[in-house]
């Protein structure tokens, strides 16, 4: 008992350190954002003009398009990552022969470790032209009356390209979590489903239901990676201040905005603060996502048929 208590006490400083660093990060972001909040108020988040000027009185920063672009591309990424990572997990655990299984696991592990610039260059040189030619152009020609497809695909740099690239980048992260959860489902539940006369497909469906919380956790992680990704997205999204429903329109994201502008931000009076405020919005989004997930988990616990 005494030893355990000592151990517990020894752990306190470490937990405090983690929490302290987190608090410190938030404080720094808040402190540096105050300047722009005093100047613009919430307009920094609700307007779409980005005006850098040598004359501080003309400066104006509204990052709404970047927030929009971050949510849009990360949303696309999640929509791609969900089916891919679940299908991958089921295939690896239930269907793949032992040899292929190992290779698949190694491949996804490598994918999580690849420097993101690699994805960016691949995206810019291969993915963008590919998506433009085989997805955007046919869809635009035939379905441009649908708002989603209404923007003429000029360069191919777009929300869609950004979203797909992000989807590819974050799938391995979601897949690793979902695969482990699926693999470690207690054998007794597998037996139980089959004992009820389930086919392999039906059993899989029931067992996926069992790991719903892990799927959600994997997607939250993927979303976090996606919304924080900078270099790769900025190479394929077009870096344009733009709010459009169309998948084919170019856009911007918070992370790529900060990465692109930080270098020269110090020339201007208010831009650094604006970028801090932009970064702060990512923490709000992160917080909102976590609250949402928390509520979903709670709902599942009180499930009613």
């Amino acid at each position: 008992m005494i030893i355990r208590d000592k151990f517990k006490i020894a752990l306190i400083p470490f937990s405090a350190l983690v929490f302290g660093i987190f608090a410190l990060i938030l404080i720094i972001f808040f402190a540096n954002s105050i300047q722009i909040f005093e100047k613009e108020g919430l307009a920094i988040y609700t307007t779409s003009r980005w005006l850098a000027s040598e004359d501080p009185s003309l400066e104006f920063y509204g990052v709404l398009p970047a927030i929009y672009g971050s949510l849009y591309t990360s949303g696309i990424a999640i929509l791609i990552a969900l089916p891919l990572s679940v299908a991958y997990s089921v295939f690896v655990v239930d269907y793949a022969p032992r040899r292929i299984k190992e290779w698949l696991i190694i491949a996804t592990d490598i994918m999580t470790g690849l420097p993101t610039i690699i994805y960016g260059i691949w995206g810019a040189f291969f993915l963008v032209p590919f998506v433009k030619k085989y997805l955007m152009e046919p869809l635009y020609e035939n379905f441009s009356f649908i708002p989603l497809f209404s923007y003429p695909p000029s360069t191919g740099h777009s929300f869609l390209s950004g979203g797909i690239l992000l989807g590819i980048m974050v799938t391995p992260f979601a897949a690793a979590i979902i695969r482990e959860a699926y693999r470690t489902i207690p054998y007794t539940y597998r037996e139980a489903v089959y004992a009820l006369g389930a086919t392999k497909y039906e059993a899989t469906r029931v067992l996926i239901g069992y790991i719903k919380p892990a799927i959600l956790a994997g997607l939250v992680l993927a979303f976090g990676r996606a919304i924080g990704e900078t270099v790769a997205v900025s190479l394929v999204i077009g870096n344009t201040f733009n709010i459009s429903p169309s998948l084919f329109a170019p856009g911007y994201t918070i992370s790529s905005l900060i990465a692109n502008q930080f270098g020269n931000a110090f020339i201007y009076e208010h831009m650094v603060s604006a970028l801090f405020a932009a970064g702060l919005s990512l923490s709000f989004i992160g917080l909102a996502v976590n609250l949402l997930v928390f509520r979903m988990l709670r709902r599942w616990e009180h499930a009613r048929s």
């Binding site: 139980a192 089959y194 086919t199 048929s305």
Partner: protein, 250 residues
């Protein structure tokens, strides 16, 4: 007529011979108890009877099992499992599903019902059969994981009964339960044998004595002795059976 006939059954895991030439006839509407020390092959035998053993790629089965005279190997495995229900050692209702959905799952998968009314009716019927209805009728939407261990095990019985099986296999269904829950389930099984064939594997010799009409003693994958429970306990023919039931080994 016998509900189950096991004919020269052999089971191997890889090259380990686990069930060794077992022959058994299990009559209808009885409680048939299978006893034997740990590792004697009781669970393996049950899994061979409803073809659940085929989930294990290493397992190989020889011989035959007949369900009402028809070989289970000439039937679709899904059909076999629907008609031969199974309850496991650890209560294993699906914890992410409601009480209702746990019972409804089998009928849904096997398309036994045509509409919600029929399903409601079947779920209620199964829960009543499993002596659980009164305890859960007001909370059918609660997650199954909220039930006590004993209730969960009765839920698993209800889940199996909802498929309207001919035979119910139970693999040490009370070994994780307290005496009160155990007594409830034993009484339930005595009730169920009026309409089903109940095959129960048990570690507790007293349990076989209390509820078994017949008892089979398994040792090291072989059937040592089978007969009327009274005869097995009062007047065992084999020395090893006597030694086991008097607690001198195992």
């Amino acid at each position: 007529m016998n509900s189950l006939e096991i004919i020269n059954l052999n089971v191997y895991y890889g090259n380990r011979h686990v069930i060794k030439g077992i022959n058994l006839k299990i009559p209808q509407k009885v409680v048939f108890a299978i006893i034997g020390p740990s590792g004697s092959g009781k669970s393996t035998l049950l899994r061979a009877i409803n073809r659940l053993i085929e989930l294990d790629e290493d397992a190989k089965v020889e011989g035959d099992v007949r369900l009402f005279k028809k070989s289970i190997y000439e039937m679709d495995p899904r059909e076999v499992r629907r008609r031969i229900g199974m309850v496991f050692q650890q209560p294993n209702p699906f914890p992410h599903m409601s009480i209702y959905d746990n019972v409804a799952l089998g009928p849904r998968l096997n398309k036994l019902v045509r509409n919600k009314e029929e399903l409601d009716y079947l779920v209620e019927w199964a829960l009543k059969k499993a002596a659980l209805w009164d305890e859960v009728k007001d909370r059918l939407g609660d997650l199954a994981s909220k039930l006590s261990g004993g209730q969960q095990q009765r839920l698993c019985i209800a889940r199996a009964l909802a498929l309207k099986p001919d035979v119910l296999l139970l693999d040490e269904p009370t070994s994780a339960l307290d005496p009160v829950s155990t007594a409830k389930i034993e009484n339930l099984l005595l009730e169920l044998k009026k309409s089903y064939t109940v095959v129960i594997v048990t570690h507790r010799i007293q349990q076989a004595a209390r509820i078994g009409d017949y008892t089979a003693f398994l040792l090291d994958g072989k059937l040592v002795e089978v007969g009327d429970t009274a005869q097995i306990f009062v007047n065992p023919k084999d020395r090893r059976t006597e030694a086991y039931i008097t607690g001198r080994f195992g």
